[in-house]
């Protein structure tokens, strides 16, 4: 056989390895339901805890605000720590699933406890309870969320499958975030407006269902890409960010997308102060949310025609162009015209929500290819941290812009106060909603230009990694079989020494313990 023919055969074999399917329906279902459950908890805590603390537990607003600030700072610290812990973990179950399995129940218990108004506590006792329960909730939440976000990168080496599982799970996640709203609305009807019972009841429902999904998911899913032999050091958390250049480019680009978040943050200001009707918020937010989900749904299909970098750039430009169109249409048109236009504007946002996670998985492959280390934990904890930093930057920038456009603040002592804004301020609010993110959003493309894990390079990296994983699997299988043989021979020798024939005991060949390295369809059947 010629060298060219051998090379072609090898390429075909590697392509077959890359195209191999690993995930079954149950993987998609349980992982997505787990994301749904996790988002339901996050949605409940983020949307309703402030009200619970201030209006139901009657805790001073300043004390609550201070606690949230401290918890946020602690979150920034514990995210990378958890990332390193995950990457240092080596168990038979893998490095992610044990946390999902064992932290999910405490996480759910914390969620429920947080929403119980224990009677008879002093003011100081309430504040202490708030600090302990929330920081515990936040810490255990990190132990669940970091591995959960890292799972798609290890459940399958197949890029199409990763794209699909991330897209589906993020759609379910978006729906999950709203489940608390639905449950609380229903609860208020059922309990005749009993807020305390409704909030606690909602936390109990979510807290009971969520760990069921998480535990089943931890048992059903398999980490098919084994952790690498080398265990990362504690000091490698942030250093990794700067050593892994594609990841640095990705996280820089992703960090700058906080400008995009101005759009959703400005909705409230636009409906209240330009259209003078706060209840329109749902009419503006819902089409955008649906469009975003459609975008997520189409992300896997688009991924077949474009690489992740191209998708990021195309979606960013699409979003910016649409926002600019909305700006030039103007704020004097009826509100529904803007709401409809925003539907098309938000379509690419769904794609932009999925693509960075796919790219993060690619950077993990790149790093393994380069150094022999896989660091899903650190990667996704830094992605999570990025999201929190982006949120903080967005809030800061929004505050700056509101000041720049002379926004008149509502009076704190007048319930529901919505002061009429000047014409200049209204124009500014519409600009914050449209043209400002349209222009600044484009800045996120700049770091992305330095991202080079695309096309043939990525294909080569992933093909070589697949080959390595396959070799490792075969080697481990052979080693396991050899170990079994040695054990069998030793046992047979022992039996012979006492006068028993080994053939009487073993009627079949001993089975090799199949490792979960790139197990493929056979794993699924097993």
């Amino acid at each position: 056989m010629s060298t060219a023919a051998v090379s072609a055969d090898k390429t075909t074999a590697l392509d077959n390895l890359l195209d191999r399917k690993y995930l079954g329906k149950k993987d998609y279902i349980w992982f997505s339901l787990t994301t749904f459950a996790c988002s339901a908890i996050t949605g409940l805590a983020q949307g309703y805890l402030l009200f619970f603390y201030t209006s139901i537990m009657n805790i001073n607003l300043t004390a609550v605000g201070t606690m949230f600030l401290i918890a946020k700072i602690w979150d920034g610290v514990n995210d990378p720590i958890m990332g390193v812990i995950v990457d240092k973990t080596r168990t038979k179950m893998g490095k992610m699933r044990p946390y999902l399995l064992f932290a999910s129940v405490p996480y759910a218990i914390c969620t429920i406890i947080m929403f119980i108004n224990f009677r008879g506590m002093s003011e100081g006792g309430k504040i202490a309870f708030m600090y302990i329960s929330y920081i515990l909730f936040s810490t255990i939440g990190t132990a669940v969320e970091v591995p959960l976000q890292g799972l798609p990168a290890v459940v399958s080496p197949n890029i199409d499958e990763r794209t699909k599982i991330i897209s589906i799970s993020r759609i379910l996640g978006s729906i999950g975030e709203q489940s608390a709203l639905v449950l609380i609305s229903l609860g208020l009807i059922v309990t005749n407006d009993n807020y305390e019972a409704t909030y606690t009841g909602t936390a109990v429902i979510i807290g009971v269902i969520a760990p069921i999904f998480m535990v089943i998911s931890a048992l059903v899913l398999r980490e098919r890409i084994e952790p690498t032999n080398e265990i990362p050091k504690w000091s490698e958390g942030f250093k990794y960010l700067f050593k892994n250049k594609p990841f640095l480019a990705l996280i820089s680009a992703n960090l700058l997308t906080f400008f995009r978040n101005l759009v959703s943050a400005a909705i409230m200001y636009v409906v209240c102060y330009i259209y003078g009707n706060g209840s329109l918020q749902i009419a503006f937010a819902l089409p955008g949310a649906i469009a975003s989900m459609i975008g997520m749904l189409f992300a896997p299909k688009l991924k077949r025609h474009f690489n992740a970098k191209q998708l990021f750039i195309i979606a960013t430009i699409w979003h910016s162009v649409c926002l600019a169109i909305v700006y030039f249409v103007g704020m004097t048109v009826p509100w529904y015209v803007i709401a409809i236009l925003m539907f098309f504007t938000m379509l690419p946002v769904g794609v932009l929500n999925v693509v960075p996670h796919l790219m993060a998985a690619d950077t993990i492959d790149y790093w393994e290819h380069k150094t022999g280390q896989r660091q899903e934990g650190i990667t996704f904890s830094l992605m999570g941290l990025r999201s929190k930093v982006s949120s903080g930057l967005k809030d800061y920038f929004l505050t700056f812009l509101l000041g720049y456009f002379l926004f008149s603040q509502p009076l704190g002592f007048v319930d529901g106060h919505e002061p009429v804004q000047s014409e200049y301020t209204k124009g500014g609010l519409f600009a914050i909603y449209t043209i400002i993110p349209a222009v600044l959003n484009l800045v996120s493309i700049v770091p992305m230009l330095f991202y080079n894990l695309t096309g043939e390079r990525l294909h080569t990296i992933q093909a070589e990694l697949a080959e390595r994983h396959e070799e490792q699997r075969l080697r481990e299988e052979a080693e396991a079989a050899a170990a079994e043989r040695v054990l069998g021979e030793e046992a047979a020798a022992d039996l012979e020494a006492v006068g028993v024939d080994a053939g009487d005991i073993w009627s079949d060949e001993p089975q090799a313990d199949v490792m979960t390295v790139a197990g493929g369809e056979s794993d699924e059947k097993a």
């Binding site: 108004n117 807020y195 009429v420 000047s422 200049y424």
Partner: protein
């Protein structure tokens, strides 16, 4: 290379800071700039056709009684108050007063239409006022809205004097001046407190407000007012006037004033299953608004 990057970063930060600082008119220059811009506009002369709208929140007691009476008798366990005794709830529920209720309150607007010319500082022109029709306690109109001539055309002169009258202790006037592409905007905020005895509270140097008998009606640094202290507060008036200045002259004025009073309103008690009781709340009871273009 690292040194070059650090220098570039510092230069960018300095430029950004300089740009941001140049966006503001210095505090000690704001009143001067405003005064000169008003004088320049008056000297150059202008025309202004605009409406000044004064809206007042009215509560119709008959309509509200009917609403809550029907509501209290329609169910055995009213959400109103804490008692589970339907009779007690009916009595209290029907008698409750709620200025927050949109069904039995209404904003009634009196509109002043001005058509003014200013030449060399002298004002001329016409004005009309349209008053809403009178209502009975059920909120039914008893006639038609009335439009009549309004003899006082000095509104703009009054406004200029008010925003520059920083010497009175009865007014807390603050200024904010910004420079924006092609224009300057000066925002004037005026706070004043009218007491129930008809007098105005005065602001001390420390920022607290006191009535004539020394009662503190607003504490130093506080956001809310001591509504019931001493004779009590009738209303707090918060005025906001934005002047747009182009080429050194005032070319546009936006007025938005709010009068805040302390009135009976519903409150939910979340510790008692979200049940409702009556409390007093600060709420907007009057607004004044005008968008004026000087041409």
């Amino acid at each position: 290379m690292k040194k070059l990057k650090a220098t570039a970063l510092v230069v960018i930060l300095v430029i950004l800071t300089a740009i941001l600082m140049s966006c503001n008119i210095a505090d000690d220059e704001v009143t001067g700039v405003l005064s000169e811009a008003i004088s320049a506009a008056e000297s150059a002369g202008y025309s202004a056709a605009f409406s000044f709208t004064h809206s007042v929140l009215e509560l119709y007691p008959g309509k509200q009684y009917q609403k809550y009476h029907e509501e209290a008798y329609s169910t055995d366990r009213s959400l109103y108050l804490y008692s589970d005794d339907p009779e007690e709830n009916r009595a209290l529920g029907a008698a409750r007063t709620n200025w927050d209720d949109e069904d039995s309150t209404e904003w009634l607007a009196t509109v002043y239409n001005y058509n003014i010319n200013c030449t060399g500082g002298e004002y001329s022109g016409t004005a009309t006022v349209t008053r809403p029709a009178e209502r009975n306690s059920m909120g039914e109109e008893l006639g038609e809205p009335v439009t009549e001539d309004y003899s006082d055309i000095g509104y703009l002169r009054y406004l200029y004097n008010r925003v520059l009258d920083a010497g009175s202790a009865e007014l807390n006037i603050t200024y904010q001046g910004v420079i924006r592409p092609g224009k300057r905007i000066i925002r004037v905020n005026i706070e004043s407190i009218l007491l129930l005895d008809g007098t105005n509270a005065e602001m001390n140097a420390d920022g607290s407000w006191v009535s004539a008998d020394g009662t503190v009606v607003k504490d130093e640094g506080a956001e809310d007012y001591n509504w019931t202290a001493g004779a009590g507060i009738d209303k707090v008036v918060i005025e906001r006037v934005d002047f747009t200045i182009r080429d050194g002259k005032v070319t546009g004025i936006e007025v938005y004033n709010e009068h805040i009073s302390y009135r009976d309103a519903d409150q939910r008690d979340y510790l008692r299953g979200g049940r409702i009781y009556t409390t007093q709340k600060a709420m907007i009871t009057e607004t004044e608004q005008a968008v004026i273009s000087l041409t």
